[in-house]
Amino acid sequence: MPQYKALIVDDEPLARNIIKAYLKKWPEISIAAECSNGFEAIKAIKEHQPTMLFLDIQMPKVTGLELMEVIDEPLHVIFTTAYDQYALKAFELNAVDYLLKPFNEKRFNDAVEKLMQKLNSGITSNQKQISNLQNSTEENLERIVVKKGNKLEVIPLDKLLYIEAQDDYVMLYTDNNHFLKAKTMKYFEDHLPNELFVRIHRSYIVNTEKIKHLEPYSKDNHLAIINDEIKLKVSRTGYKKLKELLDF
């Protein structure tokens, strides 16, 4: 009698088949669904509430790592990929294990065994903790993946107007929408390309290409005008940074 539900996420059918085949030896695990991309996966997670996720990293539009960032449900993840360079990031995201394709059944069973031990000890991965952990990674973001209700959204950087601090979260604003993300301002300050995005205030990081103009506000402060409704406070140091970057 299966106690645990698993979800297999991989864009290659054959890669999913091999996991399905290996899982046959685990009667306590049933396969709730197979997904070929992140969008399907988000829906399936909501619908089936799986215990574990077998997750490929390189997938169209949304990578497995980006998907991990937006999953709120407590579940355990085993990454499966042909790329070894994401291992560090995967473990920062509290992955149970990282399987390099092609992997044999013994290696797979070890990973599932590890997962079972975690389940039995009652530890589940906690998303909020995760988002603060993964500040060590290097490269700039090219897009930001967010979740709105059950739907996954990909925000390209040129659509992002500004980011506002909200306690432990940030709010991302686009032309006609806004999205909550469990990340810190510091994270975005560090990972957005700094020739485009500037922290103009304790509470704001702005896309400098979206600023129409700046106007004086009080003795030390300015306002960055994005459009008729959006006017963001600019601190004195923020103004200095803008001046340096935009060279006015």
């Binding site: 054959l14 991309n37 042909a82």
Partner: protein
């Protein structure tokens, strides 16, 4: 070019030392041969040698700028005129200065007809020595520059060889294919065997060929269709292939594996980043003395990686064609309405010779 003596402290010190020795010999000769008092001998030696010490440094500039392109005689004449001018100035200025310090009687001894001739000859010899030494400097620095250039060339050649090698064998392609095979062995052993054969043929073709080898387009296309079939096993319906190749093009020669990066990019930026099916189309045309090959794929316009790409693969192709045909205009690409097109033009040497 920097002045070879002034710009290097070590050489300048050596130069000064040589002149101190020459000055000592000069003064010594004055006292022995003409029996002059030591003070007069030293004054004479100092004035003339310090003068040549300074003039000598400036001889560098005529040597550097004299136009040697008009033949030996022209260069020889120009150098001779410069020599006569330099020696004349040296003698005239030296004598005028010496007049201020040395009494008339000693001057007559120092500038007797015989002594004057010797001075002129010594001056001339010194001038020639300068010219020779300066030419030596130029020669060696040219040689150095040439060596460095050769070294740079070798290095870039090695790098492009290495890049070509890397682009031939993308490890992720290999690992993912092996994973597919591993999966097929469980459910479809026949298909697994078939895929192993294709992968082996593909690898054999990639590994045995010399990078500069030219092969008929037929072979290259056959190998590429193996590659695409392997990828099709991985991606299923998400990858479609179409090709339109006129028969007369198939015997034309192309560099081995030149198409590989094109298909690899189509898979990487098309199929990898798209949820919808991607079709890769190949068109060939025989033009006047050239073979034109276009590879077109659709891609997801919203996928950021697809838009950007890295250009490494295409640059590799450009670099290889440049090394082989010495032309930079053989690769072009453009994108329009969610389609990416790369066009290669491969010169056909035997055809162009007939024209």
């Amino acid at each position: 070019m920097n002045h070879p003596i002034v710009s290097q402290a070590k050489i300048f010190k050596l130069y000064a030392l040589v002149w101190i020795i020459l000055s000592a010999i000069h003064a010594f000769t004055d006292t022995i041969v003409y029996s002059l008092p030591l003070t007069i001998a030293i004054t004479d030696s100092l004035i003339f040698n310090v003068l040549m010490f300074t003039i000598g440094l400036s001889i560098w500039f005529p040597v550097l700028y004299i136009d040697t392109s008009k033949g030996r005689w022209s260069a020889f004449t120009q150098h001779s005129i410069t020599g006569v001018v330099v020696v004349t100035i040296w003698l005239f200025v030296g004598k005028s200065l010496l007049d201020l310090f040395v009494p008339e009687t000693s001057m007559q001894i120092l500038f007797s007809d015989q002594a004057f001739t010797i001075r002129a000859i010594v001056g001339g010899l010194q001038f020639m020595l300068y010219v020779m030494v300066y030419y030596m400097f130029i020669f060696y620095s040219d040689l150095d520059e040439k060596n460095r250039q050769q070294e740079r060339l070798n290095r870039s050649l090695r790098e492009s060889e290495l890049n070509a090698l890397k682009s031939q064998l993308n490890p992720h392609f290999l690992f993912n294919s092996l994973n597919s095979i591993s999966s097929l062995t469980i459910t479809e052993p026949d298909d697994a065997r078939e895929m192993i054969n294709k992968l082996s043929d593909f690898l054999r073709y990639s590994l045995k060929k010399n990078e500069n080898a030219l092969l008929p387009l037929r072979d290259e296309l056959k190998n590429m269709s193996r590659y695409m079939e392997i990828e099709k096993v991985r991606f299923g319906d998400r990858l479609q292939c179409e090709a339109e190749v006129p028969k007369e093009c198939k015997d034309l020669l192309v560099p081995v594996l030149i198409l590989q990066p094109l298909y690899e990019n189509a898979v990487k930026y098309g199929v990898h980043e798209s949820i919808e099916p991607v079709t890769v189309r190949t068109f060939c045309r025989c033009l006047d003395g050239e073979l034109e090959i276009s590879v077109i794929n659709n891609f997801d316009k919203d996928a950021i990686a697809a838009k950007k790409g890295t250009g490494v693969g295409l640059n590799n192709v450009k670099e290889r064609l440049f090394l082989l045909y010495n032309r930079k205009d053989l690769v072009s690409h453009h994108q329009e309405n969610g389609h990416f097109e790369v066009t290669l033009r491969i010169p056909q040497k035997n055809v162009s010779l007939n024209n």
